[in-house]
């Protein structure tokens, strides 16, 4: 029990590392999801862009929502935001801090998905193969306009009969993949620069306020946890007392209805206490039936 309490105390004081862990796990899960997903471009003019962009943007939204759901702090923040002020003033800075911390952690997995998608290239090739300029590529330069759209739409499908050994298909594919990878690396670079500047420059502005806000946001979290613990403990004791009262009242009822002689000898008293006067099958059955049909009131005063 001590061990659990110590681990619990460690996590209580260090809930940030728990959340960082969850955030990292979600990021790994998003990479795994991408690699196991069987991307299959439809290779039809109107459907390609919808499929490609859909895969690229719908999954990040799902991952973002998962990140919000799995983060305990979102509930804490919402509760703090919506509670009436009562005897305790609300500090908007704390709510803002919690909100930004939650958003930052929830954005990691979607960004990882988008970057991996762009570095891989399949989505962009599928979405934008119909939008390249056919004049740049020898195989598509002298084809009629209607046919060229059909052909370009088939570029992502390597195994299509028309495209199987087409060097222009490979050229278009390479061209789009190059753009896709350049975009992916650029996004990653911009985000890392932003993260670096944020970490470097934050202590330069309002460090004292930040320390206060961070302390009180941890406090709210800890207070909520301790309150739940206290309520849990209280309900255990409450339940214990309630059930004891129930057994006592059953015992009294049974004494009233049966003419049982007082127990012989003092030695049997210890065990009788545990048995609480319920010593045969009928009594047990009656007790169980009463427990089901007439639960005792929630009052142990």
């Amino acid at each position: 029990m001590d061990r659990f309490r110590m681990i619990f105390q460690y996590f209580q004081s260090n809930s940030e590392s728990v959340m960082n862990g969850i955030c990292g796990l979600l990021a790994l899960a998003s990479v795994k999801m991408y690699t196991s997903f069987d991307f299959s471009c439809p290779c039809l003019p109107q459907y390609n862009m919808a499929y490609g962009l859909g895969i690229m943007f719908v999954s990040p939204i799902i991952l973002f929502l998962c990140g919000l759901i799995l983060n305990r702090q979102s509930l804490v923040m919402l509760e703090e935001w919506r509670r009436p002020p009562g005897c305790r003033k609300k500090d908007l800075a704390v709510i803002r801090y919690l909100c930004s911390s939650i958003m930052q952690r929830a954005m990691v997995a979607p960004v990882v998905w988008i970057v991996v998608t762009l570095l891989d290239g399949k989505c962009l090739i599928c979405a934008f193969s119909g939008s390249v300029d056919p004049e740049k590529f020898v195989g598509f330069a002298n084809v009629s306009t209607e046919q060229v759209q059909q052909l370009l739409a088939k570029v992502p499908c390597k195994d299509d009969e028309l495209m199987r050994n087409n060097t222009s298909r490979r050229a278009v594919s390479r061209y789009l993949r190059c753009w896709s990878q350049a975009l992916g690396w650029s996004i990653l670079l911009i985000l890392i620069i932003a993260a670096f500047l944020a970490r470097w420059l934050r202590p330069c502005f309002n460090q004292a306020t930040l320390l206060q806000v961070r302390h009180w946001s941890n406090y709210i979290d800890i207070e909520q946890k301790i309150f739940e613990e206290t309520c849990c403990e209280h309900s255990r004791l409450f339940a214990h007392k309630c059930i004891l009262h129930f057994f006592e009242s059953m015992q009294q009822e049974i004494k009233l209805h049966s003419f049982s002689l007082p127990g012989e000898g003092e030695g049997a008293e210890g065990e009788e206490d545990l048995l609480r006067g319920i010593t045969d099958q009928d009594q047990v059955n009656k007790l169980l039936k009463t427990w089901y049909s007439e639960k005792p009131p929630l009052d142990v005063s």
Partner: protein, 338 residues
Amino acid sequence: MDKFRMIFQFFQSNQESFMNGICGIMALASTQMYSAFDFNCPCLPHYNLAYGLGILLVPPFILFLLGFVLNNNISMLAEEWRRPQGRRRKDPAVLRYMFCSMAQRAMIAPAVWVSVTLLDGKCITCAFCTSVPLESLGNASHPRLSQGEIQRVLARIPCKDIYNGQQLIANEVAVRYLRCISQALGWCFVLLMTTLAFLVRSLRPCFSQAAFLKSRYWSHYIDIERKLFDETCAEHARSFAKVCIQQFFEGMSTDLVAARCHLPRKAPADAGEAAEKLLGITDQGTMNMALKSWHRCKPPLHLHPPALPTGNGWAGEGQPPTHPSAPRRETAAYYSWV
């Protein structure tokens, strides 16, 4: 449990070895990223150089910044740099030491990426295939083509499946040549980095070793002091919360007793601990009111004087009350990790 705490304390006290671990993991991650990355040379005249050099230089820059971002000491350094002087002087040598130590660790993953890229050869082949010396390597009898055409043909060297310039220059020959140069550059780079690291490590004790020891000590001290402060604040917040909640329940219970004008309760002699732990809440209605009040009207962040520690006792949380007759008092205890 002790083992766990010891490991935790070890990492806490030795932020440097923790950062060394992160640094090693990032170096491995950079090789893994390189092998997982699908290098795809565009094989077009002006795009090749941009793509090749981009892959050679942009990811190392990203890894370098990532090395800083993942290092907790960066905010500590910025904080120490920007704090008002107050009653504690600032030592620029300590700040320089922290910065150098972070920068050195952050340089490892980018150096690994650049070495791996050069030794592999695909980037340099892609970037410089249009600059291959045709006079020495090209076939003697090649058709006369315009400069633009030659550029276009040479740009396809990295893409064997669409290369159509065998008469101009054999693909194998060009690729071998470029890869050889790339690997030579790679080995030179590794040699240079290793020599630099060796010189820095072996020559540093020759210059102001005493000042170095001082800076290192005080930078560790700042790190440990910050961590202990955070821990102390967290412990304080826990104790504050416990007492606040305790007083909230006591307040509720007092209000109820005042509101019910009633008969004295039966207080059986053995109620003692259990009754206290029930916090005066013994029925559903009262509990509901307590929960509603917790949401609607949270108690102020202000503990009443009787609850604060008056003695200098060390009261553990798990101990049963030793004086049941004394008024109930919750004490806030500070636990020291040191």
